[in-house]
């Protein structure tokens, strides 16, 4: 295993595997600027064989693994040779269409991973209207740099670190600079937030939450209405949500989101001694 030093190393590793692919399989869908940030921070490791490559990056107190393999059998051989899987807590996600025949999950389960969570992607068509200049914002405002620590704590307390990818403090600072976190405050405390990422005509909600002690005060609704009103030029809205979180699903459906058929299966190895809700 070695630390990745450049994007070229990543692309070369992908090409080597792809050249041998009979049934190419992957869970690696890199966003170039985010991948580059990980490489520059020294947070991406690579372990390559001729027909499979795995990428490891640290997240909280465990590893996330992404892979590309020539076929499922090559992937299994690669996993069986990886010491980290035997010694450390590891999370693997498989993103695929819901109706896709599943040949990867059995491979990953066979090396000791168990299903941990299932997320589904929801999407909502936008109206492609020009953004409103003046919106009834209620109490929602864009968060400031001084809110970073409180935002991180709220997200860490409210979401599952294995399944929902808690942002690092550096991620939050970038989002704040880009005006991608809306908040509502009750006195001086952040009561709720909506954290999103917008690229061109698409916008994805990363986190939408109202702190436990401020529930039932319509803060969530204020945040969502503000978000949608200020993004009226967007053509496509998306988000990932726990597939069994019926409360959240109902709220998103209320705002026009529907299942778009993509599923994220989160699997953990036996070194993760945690269940959702604990």
């Amino acid at each position: 295993m070695r630390k990745v030093g450049s994007m070229d190393e990543v692309y070369a590793a992908l090409q080597a595997v792809k050249n041998k692919a009979s049934a190419y399989c992957t869970n690696f869908f890199p966003v170039p600027n985010k991948l580059l940030a990980r490489i520059e921070a020294g947070q991406l490791l690579l372990d390559a064989s001729p027909d499979a490559v795995v990428f490891l990056n640290p997240d909280c107190d465990f590893w996330r693994i992404h892979f590309c393999a020539a076929n499922p059998a090559a992937l299994r051989r690669k996993f069986e040779s990886l010491a980290t899987i035997k010694t450390d807590p590891v999370v693997i996600e498989i993103i695929q269409p819901e109706n896709q025949t599943d040949d990867l999950l059995p491979v990953i389960k066979a090396i000791g991973f168990r299903p941990y969570a299932r997320l589904c992607r929801l999407a909502r068509a936008g109206s492609a209207q020009p953004a409103e200049k003046s919106v009834d914002a209620g109490q929602a405002v864009y968060a400031a740099a001084a809110d970073a620590r409180e935002i991180h704590e709220l997200i860490d307390d409210s979401f599952d670190r294995y399944a929902e990818q808690i942002p690092q403090k550096a991620d939050i600072e970038i989002a704040l600079k880009n005006r991608q976190i809306l908040i509502v405050k009750n006195n001086q405390t952040i009561a709720g937030l909506l954290y999103f990422e917008t690229t061109g005509a698409s916008s994805a909600i990363r986190y939408w939450l109202v702190s436990q002690k401020f529930r039932s005060l319509s803060y969530g609704s204020v945040l969502m209405r503000n978000y949608l009103a200020t993004h009226s030029a967007i053509r496509r809205f998306t988000l990932w949500v726990m597939a069994d979180n019926e409360g959240a699903l109902q709220k998103y459906r209320h705002y026009g989101y529907t299942n778009d058929g993509l599923i994220d299966q989160v699997l953990v190895n036996e070194n993760v001694n945690h269940e959702i809700g604990n």
């Binding site: 992908l14 050249n19 692919a21 992957t26 869908f29 890199p30 170039p32 690229t199």
Partner: protein, 76 residues
């Protein structure tokens, strides 16, 4: 054999790919879409797009995708 624009339309039916010069910047294709697109182009044109070519620059618009297909040996 499907055309590139037909394939794109299948992946993201809500967008008009004929009007954009940059699918990535315009938010019409995300990273998952690009990987799906590569797999579909490979199958449709019976080619294997090189790993080193799976970069945003090659998926910006119809022209760059067509150039990538030609480079990869497809008969477009």
């Amino acid at each position: 054999m499907k055309s590139v624009i037909e394939i794109l339309k299948e992946i993201r039916p809500e967008f008009d790919f004929s009007t954009s010069e940059d699918f990535i910047v315009d938010g019409m294709l995300d990273s998952f879409d690009v990987v799906t697109l590569v797999a579909t182009l490979d199958k449709n044109y019976r080619i294997s797009i090189a790993g080193t070519d799976i970069v945003p620059e090659n998926f910006r618009n119809l022209k760059t995708i067509t150039e990538l297909l030609v480079k990869s040996g497809a008969q477009v």
